[in-house]
Amino acid sequence: MSLLVVFGGPKKELRTLLTLLSEEYARGEKVKLVLVHQACRLASDKTPDQMLKDLNVETYAVEEDIKEQDLSPHLAEEVRVIDYDGWVKLLEESRKVLSWV
């Protein structure tokens, strides 16, 4: 079961957050990231975050927030768009959750 991280902050905070998850990676634990609110911009392929790619974090973005910010045409391939039902499913499948919203 994975660690589910819900992130809604600016890009500079994501760096700190990913640093704090390094031990999880070292232990071979899976981390799944759900982007919400302004953080959905990180899912845009115009501003790809290398650290997310390097750590191979499974990344999701909430559909409603993507639509509100008109980001749909610009999403990076690896980002999966989910609705709230999908977010609940991720919660069901996770071992613990860290919300940084």
Binding site: V6, Y84, V88, L91, K96, V101
Partner: protein, 113 residues
């Protein structure tokens, strides 16, 4: 598997966090999970009767479907909302001590700040 979810709201109205929390609650309730929304700090302002109608209506509907809506007594007092007639129907007044207890007994806790 039925989860017990605790959603803690720390931020005041109009920043979108409550809307996200309620949407998540709605989806969780649909799947048969238990949801408690705990409002504290500026988040307690969401418990006021005179808040935005659309949010109030949604909260009322979700409470009818089993969501628990709880607000911190001290935060309400600081905002002049400690009289029940000023609160939304269905809001239960409690304390941070209970919130800590809920954090311990819930399967997942999310904080919206």
């Amino acid at each position: 598997m039925h989860l017990k979810l605790l959603l803690v709201i720390l931020t005041p109205p109009h920043d979108g966090h409550l809307k996200t929390a309620l949407n998540l609650s709605e989806a969780a309730l649909r799947k048969g999970h238990g949801v408690i929304v705990f409002m504290t700090g500026d988040g307690a302002l969401h418990a006021a009767q005179d808040m935005a109608e659309s949010m109030a209506l949604k909260m009322k509907q979700l409470v009818e479907r089993g969501m628990q809506l709880v607000a911190c007594r001290e935060s309400l007092r600081q905002k002049g909302l400690h009289h029940e007639e000023r609160l939304l129907e269905g809001v239960r007044i409690s304390s941070l001590a209970e919130m800590v207890d809920l954090m311990d007994s819930s399967d997942k806790t999310l904080v919206f700040d």
